[in-house]
């Protein structure tokens, strides 16, 4: 195809893959950070797409309602790109995002709006108005009970579980660093959180 006279195709194939193509995790973050420091907008957009779910779940795991969490996610990203030079280790990006999000979430926001009642918030975020088949209804009911038990857990548990649920995307060491835990204690702590949750579920006559 390259030998052909089709210049349009030539232009398209000449577009090289970005240097972070094929990378994952901390390697991907480091490559994008490097490019972002040189002003590469595509690299910044890639980081935002990759790590916004993490920032979101940290914000939510620290007790922010969904609207406040949206603002905090934006504030954290703007803060990152304003202070790109001060982040010395690009591989520590995810840890930086977690720490900054928690600090931002814990600021006295001057807006102590009481959290929405759990059921309302659940209803708001649950796309469940359409008539559902039996399986769907059962699953929705189960999800509702899991959500209610989850929101009764201590905040530290909620945050830890949200982060491990993102696992694959966020690694163990990352979770440990962010929660300031020795690496070996993440597993046992998570186990206790899950036991705690199972107790809450069964005390409501729920599932095991």
């Amino acid at each position: 195809m390259r030998s052909g006279a089709d210049t349009v195709t030539d232009v398209e194939t000449a577009e090289v893959d970005p240097p972070w193509e094929g990378l994952t995790g901390a390697e991907l973050h480091a490559a994008c950070m490097h490019a972002a420091r040189a002003g590469d907008r595509q690299a910044m957009d890639r980081l935002v797409a990759e790590l916004t779910p993490l920032v979101w779940h940290v914000a939510r795991g620290n007790g922010l309602d969904r609207h406040t969490a949206e603002d905090v996610v934006q504030t954290v990203w703007l803060a990152l790109f304003t202070h790109l030079e001060s982040l010395h280790d690009p591989k520590a990006l995810a840890a930086w995002l977690i720490t900054t999000t928690r600090r931002e979430a814990r600021r006295p926001h001057g807006r102590k709006t009481p959290p929405l009642p759990l059921t309302d918030e659940f209803a708001e975020s649950m796309p469940s108005t359409q008539p559902a088949p039996e399986d769907e209804a059962l699953r929705a009911d189960r999800d509702r009970r899991i959500w209610q038990a989850f929101t009764k857990l201590p905040q530290r548990c909620q945050e830890l579980l949200r982060m491990t649920v993102l696992a694959g995307r966020s690694e163990y060491q990352l979770v440990a660093d962010a929660l300031r835990m020795p690496r070996g204690s993440v597993g046992p702590t998570r186990g206790r959180c899950l036991n705690n949750m199972r107790d809450l579920l069964s005390s409501e006559g729920g599932i095991r």
Partner: protein, 152 residues
């Protein structure tokens, strides 16, 4: 790291599914962040949305007052819906003849300058993902303050 019991694995899988269904990031959040950072100059301070007032009416409703603050600057805007567009009446405290820009996704931006009392008006602002950029100070010490995006 230890092994995970199968009961724990099942509960984690349930939790993963439940969080994906119940509490995912809003579908347009990534795009909104990407819009918010698509600024010529990224050396900015981020103003925070003060939510002491009932703002649930503002979000989506397109009317009401929003206050943003950052260190020593407060940006107050009052939104009035006029047909499909908005009129923005704003007030900067402390007052100054500062540049104010309103960026709306896919609609470019509109600029004005606040008067010496810190007041500014922007008419005919289209609906959409919106961000306000205020340039504070004089040539010797210029700072740029931005707000998170809001959907008007």
């Amino acid at each position: 790291m230890g092994s995970i019991s199968s009961a724990d694995q099942i509960l984690l899988a349930d939790l993963r599914r439940m969080l994906d269904v119940t509490d995912p990031p809003p579908g347009d959040l990534v795009q909104r962040v990407q819009f918010a950072i698509a600024l010529e100059n990224l050396d900015v301070e981020v103003a925070r949305w003060e939510r002491m007032d009932a703002l649930s009416g503002v979000r989506g409703g397109g009317q009401g007052t929003i206050t943003f603050t950052v260190s020593d600057l407060t940006v107050m805007i009052n939104l009035t819906k006029v047909g499909q567009r908005h009129r923005i009446d704003g007030w900067l405290v402390p007052a100054g003849e500062y540049g104010v820009e309103v960026r709306v996704a896919e609609h470019g931006s509109t600029s004005t300058t606040a008067d010496e009392g810190g007041r500014f008006v922007l008419d005919e602002v289209p609906c959409g993902t919106t961000q306000i950029v205020v340039t504070v100070g004089d040539v010797s010490c210029r700072r740029t303050v931005v707000t998170p995006t809001i959907v008007l």
